[in-house]
Every structure is written in C-alpha cells, then in structure tokens.
C-alpha cells in the first residue's frame, strides 16, 4: 500500500487540563482509524508541524485520545489551540503490545511519568476482556502527587478491586494517601519492585517511561524471574515518517517506528544502544 502523507482531518473535541502541562486531548476524526495500544500517530498542527504521540485510549475509532506534554515548538502550538480547532492525524504506525501474549497470565505494568498514557490504553484493552488475564498490578512513578495522570480513574479501579495500584513520587511534603487498594511511596518506581508479591513465572510485564527508567527496570524484572520474551517496553525516538523511510528513529539497524516501538527485552538485548 502506498504511504499516505496526508493526515485525516480532525478537531479537538475536549481538553482535560487537570494535570498542568500534561493535558488529555480528545480529537474527533473525520474518518475512523484504529490505533492499538502501543501504536502511535503523527499529530499535525497545520502550519507548525507534526509530532509522534501514542494512543492513551482503547478502542479509538472516530475519536483519538492522547495525553500530551507541552515539550517544545509543536506541542506548545497545540496548547494554544482551543476545543473546535482543526488538526490532522496520520497513522496508525508501528507494532503495538502483543495482546495475545497477555492472555491467561498475570500482568505487571510499570509506568514512569507520561509513560502512563500508552499503558492506560493497554490497561483499557485488558480490562475490555477482564476474564482473559489474571491479576493486574500497576507500578506508577511520578515526580509529585499533582503530576499523577488518570488518578481518579486508577483509584476507582483499585478501590473496586479490579487492579492493584502502587504509586511512587519523587517529592511530597507528606504522604497524602494510602489505602488497602493503593499505596504511595517516596522514591523511584524501581523501589516498588523490592517487596512486591507476585508470581514472575506467570507474569507478562509492560514498561513505559523515560529512557532512564529502562536502564534499570527491564533487567530488574528479568532478575525477578519474568521471561525476557514477556517483558515489553516502548521506545521513544525522533520519529517523523512513521514508515521506515526518514531514518531518524533507527537504532541498531532497526526502524523503531515500524518494527517497534514496542519490543521485548529479549529483542532489546540484541539491539545495542536501544536502552
């Protein structure tokens, strides 16, 4: 199939500004596209440029939802737009999380900061067929309590006993909350692993966060006994075309945009420089 460079026209339907500089945008598309958890699109602000962004919701269809950090030139331009503004969406791109690999197993999700966004899409997909997976544990590290994304939603799920949630924050003047269903600690998300009770041999893990997170967490999970073939992470690179042409995203000879961005730890170990 020929590469489509023209975006599908879309409008901003809603902007949830609960977390500063990490707004949750809902876009309404003029044509449905289906973006699986872990896949991404190129969001285009006409006249300014485009940037890659993961889906934060599942399923999408006529809407596309993404949590977007104000990080630079094009994202800042998006933040100047209001509901009703016109944008464009190209995609979907890449290989998402292999949902079949989760079936029949326990699930450990490890998120750092904005990495919660793609994992929320994965979580929604898993919850859509809740009976197909065992226990779901989320370990989620943030800078501070106010930076926690989807907090009401996650705590609702934890309170209902649907999933277990463990937060960590880098700073907090006091630990403001802790219940049976979810706890919060000060420190790095890796510390949440230390006394975690779970069954590594029957667990699939998905990790998403800044590059610094991958350096330690992925091998930690393998040491705890999760099969490296079943530890998944999604890589960030400077992506533009999304289809293995422009070459910005290449790592160890692999197009992260089209052959990734989701890889297993077993694959990442064969890609020097990937983590």
């Amino acid at each position: 199939m020929m590469v489509a460079f023209q975006p599908v026209p879309a409008v901003i339907e809603a902007i949830d500004k609960k977390v500063a500089d990490n707004h949750l945008f809902t876009f309404r598309l003029s044509e449905s596209i289906s973006v699986a958890p872990g896949q991404f699109v190129e969001l285009s602000i006409p006249g300014v440029g485009a940037f890659p962004v993961s889906t934060a919701a599942h399923p999408g269809g006529a809407t596309f939802q993404a949590c977007i950090r104000r990080a630079g030139r094009v994202t800042a331009a998006l933040y100047r737009l209001d509901e009703g503004a016109n944008v464009g969406i190209r995609g979907p791109f890449g290989q998402g999380f292999p949902l079949a690999a989760f079936a029949g197993r326990d699930v450990l999700l490890v998120a750092g900061g904005l990495g919660m966004a793609p994992l929320r899409a994965l979580l929604q997909a898993l919850l859509g067929e809740r009976g197909r997976v065992g226990e779901i544990i989320l370990l989620y590290g943030s800078r501070e309590p106010d930076a926690i994304l989807f907090r009401d939603e996650l705590e609702g799920l934890a309170a209902a006993g649907t999933i277990k949630v463990r937060y960590s924050v880098d700073f907090a003047t006091e630990l403001p909350w802790s219940t049976d269903a979810y706890v919060c600690r000060i420190g790095l998300v890796t510390e949440l692993l230390r006394d975690l009770r779970f069954a590594p041999a029957q667990t699939v893990a998905a990790v998403c966060g800044p590059p610094s997170l991958y350096g330690c967490v992925l091998e930690d999970l393998a040491r705890l006994g999760i099969d490296p073939e079943r530890i998944y992470a999604t890589l960030e690179r400077r992506m533009q075309c999304g289809v293995g042409q422009c070459c910005h995203c290449v790592t160890a000879g692999v197009f992260v945009c089209s052959q990734g961005p989701v890889f297993s730890l077993a694959e990442l170990r064969r890609l020097p420089g990937s983590i």
Binding site: M1, M2, V3, F5, Q6, P7, P9, S44, I45, P46, G47, V48, G49, A50, A71, G72, T75, N86, G88, P210, P211, E236, R237, R238, Q240, C241, V243, G244, Q245, C246, C247, H248, V250, T251, G253, V254, F255, S258, Q259, P272, G273
Partner: protein, 320 residues
C-alpha cells in the same frame, strides 16, 4: 539480453528523437569543472568520465519537495509534471543507486510518480582509482544501455524508442552486458556484519568522526542517501505546505528529541551510523549494501573522511 550494434552518429539521432517528448538531462561538465545533470542537445556535450556532482536522486526525490498543501479544510497533492524525463549517459553505479532507492521508496507515491515517468539510458563508465563499486549478480535497471558501439535493451519502453531508428542498427543478438558493468572494482568483506559489531569500541570511529564538521556534503552527493526531514510552511496565499527536505545523519539534531535526549550525541556514533546505513542497510534492507562505491562522498568531504578507507580499516587494513 537483446543487443544491437549501431553506427557512428546514432547517439545524436537518439537524442534528437527524444527531444520533442522528453526533458533530456545528461551529465555535463560546466566551465567551473563541476559535472551537473542538465539539458543537452548533442552527445558530444556529455561528460564521459565524470559523474554528476549531485546524483540523479534529485530527479525522483528532490532536495525540497511539497507533499501536500492545505487550504481551509482541503488537502491537495501538488500536480505532477506530465513531461517525462530522459536521463542519458548514466553510469552503472548511478543506475544501481537508483535500484536501491526503488526499494526504499517502493511505497512512496511522490517518488513513484516521478520514477514511472523516468526513462533511463545508461552508458559505460571509466573507473577512477577512487571507485570501489561491488560486484553484482544482476544488471542495473535501464531502458537502453550504450557501450562503445553496441546498445542493450532493458525494457519495452526502451525497445519502443528504437522502432524509428531500426535502419541504423545491425547485428542483433542475445548478448550479456559488458563484464565490467557487473564485475565491480572491489569485493565487500563477507563478514562485514560481524566486523562492524565487533568494532563498536574501536578508536577508529572517534578518530575519524572527530574530524567531521557536519557540513552535510557527503549525504547531499551520495546517490543513495535519502534521510529526510519534514516541516510546515505558511505560503503567502494562505495555504500551508508540508515540505520534505534532504537531511543528514551527521547533523547533531538528527536523533535529538524534546527534553534534550540525543540518541546519537557524538560524532563517532554518527559516523558509525552512516557507515552502518551505507554498508549494511536498515530494516528489511539489512544485508543489501547501499553504497555503490562511487567515491563521491570522499571527494566532497572537506576533511577527507573516506568511507572506503573506513571499510578497509575495519577489514584489517591501515588506519584511514
């Protein structure tokens, strides 16, 4: 492959027959000594020895291209030119380079639109000491290929051009292309992938890479370099244009992302990246060398970085 002998003056009559229907471009040495692809009227204008400084990729993958324009809510693709281009006097290495780009851009509508309108008339080269083209199993893509006093037909399009010129052709036959076209000048080491992997910690990359001044000349002149950057431009008439422009993996921001993380922060890493792309290929094209050994990058580099010398050093030769 079908082949005919031709008489003196045939080349000019071939050019003449193209003139009405094609934009005819060929490598011509200018008074400044630079060889460029430019319009020609007679075969004598062609530069027999020199490759064009900027290779023929610019015809199918222009340095600045517009992917679409947007007015109000309507996206439009720019109207393609309907005049076919005939590239004449193209050396085998440049034809092989085009074959590589054909693989890279197999699914690219903008490339394919121009490619399908491109007539290729190859001609034999005169290798220089800097040439290090690899041996080939297959002939390069062409519609017609001229070597000395014979021509070969590579496509139905090429055969069609000859109907009006039959009177000037004789001794038809089923002959292979001259061996020098596929023989190549230099073998690529068979275990290059292992040599490359094992070389990660060698000072070679830093020592050579440190010299690079990130001018971008090597990629601009490389017939198979195709990295690109996309950007938007507001046009004076109110439209928005999305542009696609040649990029260069030696530029510092090639792998830079928001927040300042750079996945190839040093020149050594960027040199290694370029070498890997040229010699080993990326993604599905891994294992197909993108370097056709034309030697352009070494000639263009202001600090004498020579990819063939790096290759030789990896294969156990002297330091570049």
């Amino acid at each position: 492959m079908r082949s005919w002998a031709f008489q003196a003056g045939f080349e000019d009559r071939l050019l003449q027959s193209l003139r009405g229907d094609y934009r005819v471009l060929a490598p011509v040495r200018g008074t400044d000594g630079v060889v460029r692809l430019q319009p020609v009227r007679s075969w004598a204008e062609l530069s027999p020895a020199g490759l064009p400084l900027i290779p023929l990729k610019k015809v199918v993958f222009p340095p600045h291209d517009v992917l679409w324009t947007l007015m109000e809510y309507e996206y439009r693709e720019p109207a393609p030119s309907s005049v076919p281009v005939a590239l004449v006097g193209i050396a085998p290495c440049d034809l092989y380079a085009l074959a590589y780009l054909d693989l890279v851009f197999a699914d690219d509508p903008h490339y394919q639109r121009r490619r399908q309108n491109l007539l290729l008339i190859g001609s034999n080269c005169r290798p220089t000491p800097e040439c290090f083209c690899p041996p080939r199993r297959e002939p390069p893509p062409f519609d017609l290929f001229l070597a000395a006093d014979r021509l070969w037909v590579g496509s139905a399009w090429g055969a069609g051009l000859l109907t009006a010129l039959q009177a000037e052709l004789s001794s038809p036959g089923d002959l292979p292309l001259p061996a020098e076209i596929t023989d190549g000048q230099q073998q690529v080491p068979e275990n290059l992938e292992q040599l490359f992997t094992a070389s990660a910690g060698l000072p070679l990359w830093r020592e050579v890479g440190e010299r690079c001044v990130s001018c971008g000349a090597c990629s601009a002149v490389c017939p198979t370099c195709y990295c690109y950057e996309m950007s938007d431009e507001a046009l004076p008439d109110g439209r928005v244009a999305r542009r696609r422009e040649w990029d260069n993996c030696f530029f510092r921001n090639h792998a830079l992302v928001a927040g300042g993380q750079n996945f190839r922060p040093t020149r050594a890493e960027r040199l290694r990246f370029r070498f890997e792309h040229k010699m080993l290929g990326f993604g599905a094209l891994r294992g197909i060398s993108a370097c056709v050994g034309c030697g352009r990058c070494a000639r263009a580099c202001p600090v004498d970085i020579d990819i063939s010398a790096v290759l030789a050093a990896l294969a156990g030769g002297n330091k570049p």
